[in-house]
């Protein structure tokens, strides 16, 4: 990956600054995904409830254990995403300022290489080399992996802002900081948010690996099913992870639409 391309954004969006017209989906469109997810969860519940569980299965498949796993999983995803944003967005801003032009390619290459190393290797390395285990170690692994999409989208988002708009802003006496805060960032929001959404989805999925270093999450359920050879437990873990991923993606999509600056929305006056 040598050129800077945004993640999760279609070409046309970058060019015209008009992300998909979500406002037109209407209520039916907004309700479809939650309904599907609810149906999946209820079916799963009824199916598991209708089965005679052995003691090993029962140890994993009870309300307390499952809600702990889901809670940990959500925490892993949320914390890692927040930290990712706190690192990647400011870094993206810095790397699009004129004075960092020289170090830019170097840092991007470095981070892209970093992303090529699988998260699982990072986690194992952390555990073996630094005896660093548990929730915090898992967060480090997740953040390292999710930085790149957010960083690249932040940079692309900032760079695609119309040069004339910025020049007009400077010409009217906005300081460099005011140009950044009032013009560049708001106009980059759609592309940055697309990166955030990507990071969230990556993190929900990758957080299942946290179980290898005692980080908790739904990975625990899947692992328990694998090690005890209980297919039902594996399936429940996998389905819950998928439902969570789809739900988070859905919510991120909603946020994207809400945070989109009004003037950039497809016309609906």
């Amino acid at each position: 990956m040598s050129t800077v391309t945004p993640v999760g954004v279609r070409d046309a969006d970058v060019v015209t600054q008009t992300p998909p017209a979500a406002g037109r989906r209407g209520w039916v469109g907004y309700l479809t995904m939650p309904l599907i997810l609810a149906v999946v969860l209820i079916s799963l519940y009824l199916y598991v409830n209708g089965r005679e569980l052995d003691s090993i299965e029962a140890r994993s498949l009870n309300a307390a254990a499952l809600s702990t796993a889901v809670g940990e999983h959500v925490a892993l995803t949320a914390v890692s995403t927040v930290i990712t944003l706190l690192i990647a967005v400011p870094l993206g801003i810095l790397l699009t300022r004129p004075f960092t032009r020289r170090v830019r390619p170097f840092i991007i290459t470095l981070l892209t290489l970093g992303q090529a190393v699988p998260t699982i290797s990072v986690l194992v390395l952390l555990a073996v080399m630094f005896l660093f285990l548990g929730f915090q170690a898992a967060i480090v692994g997740l953040v390292l992996y999710a930085i790149i999409p957010v960083l690249l989208n932040t940079m692309v988002g900032l760079e695609q802002v119309d040069e004339n708009v910025l020049e007009a802003g400077r010409g009217m006496g906005l300081s460099r900081f005011q140009v950044l805060r009032r013009l560049e960032l708001p106009l980059a929001v759609p592309v940055i948010l697309a990166g955030v959404r990507t990071a969230l989805v990556i993190n929900v999925g990758t957080a299942t690996l946290a179980t290898y270093i005692n980080g908790g999450g739904l990975g625990d359920v899947i692992m328990a099913g694998l090690s005890t050879n209980r297919v039902l437990v594996q399936v429940v873990g996998a389905v819950l992870t998928s439902v969570l991923a789809l739900l988070i993606d859905y919510l991120a999509g909603l946020a994207e639409n809400l945070l989109q600056p009004k003037g950039l929305r497809s016309t609906r006056s």
Binding site: A168, G171, M172, G173, L174, L187, G263
Partner: protein
């Protein structure tokens, strides 16, 4: 000695560029090379010249969007070459061709940009926004809450002008503001802008590569050659009638004489007379007047003195027994005295008797313009400009 116009006190210099030079990094020659230029308060100065000659670079050095390599910029007597650029820019309106409106902000918010930067309170800002939108002929109630992409190109450009006027700057910089707009809308925006300028009297630096726009908009025109070197800096009249060199002549192009005609008004020249009769007169009376003149028709005026009919000898013969305002033809080529000679010429070309009838603002007959007078006007413009250029030259030589 009598006071000649040249020795009258010069208007205040608002912008003085002194030996202004810009070399972009990595280029071999100066984009702007030692430009010195005085711009007087309240004037529109047009920078015009071929593509790449350095117009935009020159203009952007005035508000230091481009920092000069050397030289000085003096604004209202104050050297602003190294002062705080952000503060400086709030005092200078800035309009660019691509409008640069902020797409995520409403029209009202766009126009409020500079007032907010200057720390005006909400009430004052709001009334200023409405005032500015009205000034550029946009209904504030209708457009205040819209977003830029909900406007046409011409409307966006109007908002661009309103926004630039936000902080009531003394100076405005405009880079081809009407360049990307269709000819009809451009014409309208130019006229609106000139009317606006007659009220606000800003000092304006206006960049264009279109000589016709320069002649129309400029109080003074600087024709620039490569490196922003001045080929001629003068009023449109003098540039058209006494181009300083071949470069200027070529740049003005073929239609210089015609262009000149749009600079003078019908009221500025002496009108020719044409035989007239009153509508109440008899046909015999009209016959006599016509025979005594060497023209082929008489102009019939109504009781108010307004042109009513053209009546020729043939009309008189055929219309025997009718009153004068019933025969002949309705005058077509009629202009008011504030029309330009170019307007008069346009009418004249198509007119039946090869003259344009001139009336005052109430429509009363003043006289006519024929081709001879247009020729005469062109000749005298050229003479006076040449004479003036000579005296200035002589003055310049003898001045201490």
């Amino acid at each position: 000695m009598t006071q000649t116009p040249q020795t009258a006190p010069e208007p205040e210099v608002m912008i003085r560029l002194e030996n202004l030079t810009k070399r972009f990094p990595g280029t071999q020659r100066n984009a702007v090379d030692g430009l010195t230029l005085d711009i007087h308060a309240g004037e529109i100065v047009v920078l015009v010249g071929p593509s790449g000659c350095g117009k935009t670079t020159t203009m952007k050095m005035i508000n230091r969007i481009i920092e000069p390599t050397s030289g000085r910029i003096i604004l209202g007597g104050e050297d602003v070459t190294t002062t705080n650029a952000d503060q400086l820019r709030r005092r200078i309106g800035y309009v660019i061709q691509q409008t640069g409106l902020f797409p995520h902000l409403t029209i009202g918010e766009n126009v409020a940009t500079v007032p907010k930067l200057l720390g005006w309170d909400a009430a004052r800002t709001r009334s200023r926004v409405d005032e500015l939108l009205s000034m550029v002929n946009m209904d504030p109630d209708e457009y205040r809450g819209r977003y830029p992409k909900q406007l046409s190109g011409g409307q966006q450009q109007r908002v661009g002008v309103a926004r630039a006027l936000g902080g009531d700057p003394q100076v405005m910089l405009m880079d081809e503001p009407f360049g990307a707009i269709d000819p009809i809308t451009r014409e309208r925006l130019q006229n609106e802008f000139l009317r606006l300028q007659s009220e606000v009297r800003k000092t304006i630096v206006f960049v264009t590569h279109d000589i016709d726009e320069a002649i129309k908009m400029g109080d003074r025109i600087a024709i620039l050659q490569e490196g922003s070197s001045i080929a001629q800096y003068d009023t449109p009249e003098k540039i058209l009638t006494a181009p300083a060199n071949d470069f200027v002549r070529d740049f003005i192009g073929g239609g210089a004489s015609l262009k000149r005609l749009s600079l003078s008004r019908v009221r500025d020249i002496e009108l020719a007379s044409w035989p007239t009769v009153s509508a109440a007169d008899s046909l015999e009376q009209a016959h006599r007047v016509l025979r005594e003149s060497d023209h082929s028709a008489v102009l019939v005026l109504d009781t108010e003195g307004r042109p009513a009919r053209w009546v020729g000898a043939e009309d008189l013969r055929r219309g025997a027994g009718q009153s004068l305002d019933r025969i002949g033809t309705v005058p077509q080529a009629v202009v008011e005295s504030r029309a330009t000679l170019s307007d008069a010429l346009n009418e004249l070309i198509a007119a039946r008797y090869a003259v344009t009838v001139v009336v005052d603002q109430d429509g009363r007959h003043l006289g006519v313009v024929d081709i001879e007078q247009i020729n005469e006007a062109i000749r005298s413009m050229r003479h006076s400009a040449v004479a003036e250029a000579r005296t200035e030259f002589a003055d310049g030589r003898t001045a201490p």
